[in-house]
């Protein structure tokens, strides 16, 4: 009987998360969100285009590393120059670090001279959980067919030190470059690094 109960507990423990994890190489989880202007945004609105998802939290030192140095803005501009859509997503819950109203989120982006295609406010963390976004920043690249082709860090130097950007390999740019040239993405996954998403 004990073993029986144990097995049941195992079953319940294993069954804990009911959602399916996003898997690189498979369809990216669909989502509907609200942007900083209060408009509804669907991932499917951008079918046929490459989409970059960026999780952010203005108070996180790792986000500051990439915005303070201009690295994130450069990556953004390069992606958009190639026709990609860049969605900045804020999943901080109300009252937590990085939570932003639409006005505030736009002001922060403007102050940083960032040019996201749109900023999505996700204070309930629904999109964040669907993508299992762990960190800020946490980057995802979705190709024109809706397939998730990259998930992970912005680069391969997981530190808060801006000096490391010079020697880091920007994995988002690398993935976009592979996509543009019709190659399979050489590094489709990496360990995301940064602050935890403040769900």
């Amino acid at each position: 009987m004990n073993r029986f109960i144990n097995a049941l507990f195992v079953a319940s423990a294993l069954a804990f998360p009911a959602f399916a994890a996003p898997i690189v190489g498979e369809a990216a989880p669909a989502f509907t969100g609200t942007d900083a202007d209060g408009q509804t945004v669907n991932l499917s609105d951008y079918a046929g285009k490459t989409v970059v998802l960026e999780w952010t939290n203005e108070g996180c030192p790792y986000v500051k590393k990439h915005y303070g140095s201009g690295n994130m803005q450069k990556t953004q501009a390069a992606a958009e120059a190639d026709g990609a859509v860049w969605l900045t997503i804020i999943s901080s819950a109300e009252g937590k670090q990085g939570y932003a109203t639409g006005e505030h989120a736009k002001a922060v982006a403007a102050a940083a001279k960032a040019t996201p295609s749109d900023i999505i406010l996700d204070p309930k963390g629904e999109i964040g959980r669907a993508y299992e976004a762990q960190t800020t920043p946490h980057m995802f690249v979705i190709d024109g067919s809706g397939k998730l082709v990259y998930a992970g860090g912005i680069d391969d130097k997981p530190t808060a030190d801006p000096a490391d950007i010079a020697t880091a390999n920007n994995l988002v740019l690398a993935a976009l470059d592979d996509l543009k040239n019709g190659r399979p993405v050489a590094t489709p996954e990496s360990e995301p690094y940064g602050c935890s998403v403040k769900y």
């Binding site: 049941l8 507990f9 319940s12 998360p17 108070g59 030192p61 500051k64 030190d161 935890s196 403040k198």
Partner: protein, 704 residues
Amino acid sequence: MRRLPVLFVAALAAAGLAGAQDTAPAHPLNVQASLVAETEGVQPGDTVTVALRFQIREHWHTYWINPGDSGEATTLDWTLPEGVTAGPLQFPYPQRIQVGPLVNFGFSDTVLHLTDIKVPDNATVGQSIPLKAHAVWLVCDDICVPEEASVSLDLPVVAAPPPPNPSAAAEFAAARAALPMPSPWPASFAVQDGKVTLALKAPELAAAGLESAVLFPVKGGFIKNAAPQAVETTGDGLTIATETGRRLSTPEKAQAVDAIDAVMVVTGKDGQTKAFELKATPGPAVASGGDGDTLSVWTALGFAFLGGLILNLMPCVFPVLSMKALALAKKGGGATSAARAGGFAYTAGVVLSFLALGGVLIAIRGAGEAVGWGFQLQSPVIVAALALVFFAIGLNLMGVFEVGTNLQNLGNTTGKSDGLSGSFLTGVLAAVVAAPCTAPFMGGAIFTALTQPIPVALAIFGALGLGMAAPYLALTLSPGLVRRLPKPGLWMERLKQVLAFPMFGSTAWLVWVLSLMAGPQALALSLAALIVTAFGLWLWGIAQRGEGGWLARGTAIVAALAVIAALVVVPGMTASTAVAAAETSGPKSEPYSPARLDALLKEGKPVFVNLTAAWCVTCLVNEEVALSSSSLASAFEKAGIVYLKGDWTNRDADISKLLEQHGRAGVPLYLFYKPGQTAPAILPQLLTEGIVLDAIGAPSSPSS
């Protein structure tokens, strides 16, 4: 234009913060970093261990080599005189730190990172070696702050073996004990259906008895950090099963992984914790019969069926089944086709009721309500109504009145044509009364069911129902079995009367539950309702025998109305304080609240949590058997354990939440938080005093 100043300030702030690393911190650091040597000096050519000591601000934490879902490991860069060399920075085993839905691996309070420093043979005795290093770390609570500090230490070169540094001896001993040692046992891993199972072939560990085991892969991406880890001891070791991370998320990727380096932290029954470094290679996850580790849908269905079978033996179901068997016996096994039809009708009744209950549970769950199994017994009106139904059935069995038409079919079908609906209703009744019994036994499976897609969830509920209906169905389907039932006779009357007593027992129990839920007023009211019921049914019986005429019938109808009125009043009543704590000599408990638990854990107090309900028989048995002795009370007192009791008799959202956190849909649940730990040990659902004493690390007396 009005926005301009705001933007300007924001830009300034951003620039200032981005550059903060180059300047001295404006605020005191969250971590006090220092270098400490294990001995008071070092001999030429010798090695000394030096610790980077972190004193971390309360509630903040720093990170392990693999920080988990977020964070960054601490680094240390040495600047050393020529000839002096430093070994790698060593990390003690970490703790799991829950941050919302994410889990980090790291350290809180005090942590010592050890490094071995080798000094050259030509070091001059009497001089000091300046050890300088730059430490960089990330420290977080709700927010994260990267911090850094230059630390230094002058190490005297001495001629004689140096004495240990007295102020640091205890901390060094603890730090060494927390360093993972190479595992003497081989480890393997297997990946299937999104789960990775790691097996450690360690018969010594299995034999010694395990309290807990936690796996920390050295690199990220192998496991889903926040997923629960299910530990099972097997004949020759243990297995840990959890969900796969991105590196193992598809069979192709898993194939490409040739080893997983990990630290396994094992706490034995003796309360000792050790950490082992292991390299798991692909292989069979379990050496012997460990299907339980990767429970597929089919296995879950099988267990649900088995659970349903067991339900037949439950005190709240068995009387119903007995009555069905009784009805069969009355027919003497003659009308097998009618019996078969009755069996199927009963099965349909049970299965449909379980499906309906499951459907309701899923629907309510979907609506975001914190409900658990057994919830229908959390409503006083249902409890009161059930008590009356059981009482009436008991009176019927006693022969106070006969049920000629519809009501009879609830408990006593005869195999006539209208017996089919009766059988169906019996099935429904059996399923409804089974619910409180299922909570303790089926909590896990139901939770599984509720986290599955709806078709699977319903299938599990259906399997539960099928299992429950199976014995009676078998009896009706196999004529041989039916014929083996005893011939009808006077014994049946006697048996029928005897069966009234379990019904009265159930009534008594339900009334007691009601008194806890809704207080003494409801108790008085329900007792009055019982008496009125008895009176009404007695009159009804007289009328049935044609002895009372219209007067008896009329009075019976008035009695029925009175009972209904009583039921309407009951829900308005609530218990003043419904803690089911009868006076015992066991440990003194306080009511559970999340705030109280948090406060105690922050104080670093050991806490024992008991989640219980008056209608949960398993809970009450456990409390009687394992939690009510004075020796346990003194063991709790000695260890300074605070005993928190959560009463789920009436629905309580806070308790539902705690249950859910630990993968349960119902009570009982027993948790023990060791001093200073926020992740509790989960005790078995069937307790003995020995298990409790073991769990809290007290010596269990030989007599218990």
